[in-house]
Symmetry: C2
Subunit: 104 residues, 2 copies
């Protein structure tokens, strides 16, 4: 679908993309982690898009199997949610990924 193509374009054209909800603390936490690492992700707040929000969430679920927020992509690759991203950081694997994706 057109929406699916636009999501694919968004995640391949931006080093780091976070699909988020403004009032969700897990979304806030992952955005704060990137900020601390000096990374400016593209943040898409699904609750500020009107009817397109739930449609985008369905597309993300089709593409990644994940319907929850936050939904994180680095270098076009699906990373997962907040706990996944924090785990990679703690293992020292997140920063090399960010460098490789030219995010830092």
């Amino acid at each position: 679908s057109r929406l699916e193509e636009s999501v694919k374009t968004t995640i391949t054209q931006n080093p780091v993309v976070v699909y988020s909800k403004t009032w969700c603390s897990y979304s806030f936490e992952v955005k704060a982690l990137f900020k601390r690492l000096g990374v400016q992700p593209l943040v898409i707040e699904l609750d500020e898009l009107g009817p397109q929000g739930p449609q985008l969430q369905k597309v993300l679920e089709r593409l990644t199997g994940q319907h929850t927020v936050p939904n994180v992509f680095i270098g076009g690759k699906h990373i997962g949610g907040c706990t996944d991203t924090v785990k990679l950081y703690r293992k020292g694997e997140l920063e090399p990924m960010l460098s490789e994706a030219n995010a830092k």
Copy 2:
């Protein structure tokens, strides 16, 4: 109001009360902490009450100044959210409170 009275009764008659939302990870985390401590809080899922959910949230905001979830009470006392409860736990202050409120 009647709703305000019912909230006051609920928080005084139950040792631990958590106002929550089923899909919220911070609500999940605080419920999981109590479970690990062997405590069975009274959990009220605000997103499962229909129109009463937002009404209850307004009452909680009037009574505690907090409109967010999770909203935690121990022994009739307002504790705060997830980060507040976890902080008390880490400082060793949560478990004495739970014992005093006969929650454990």
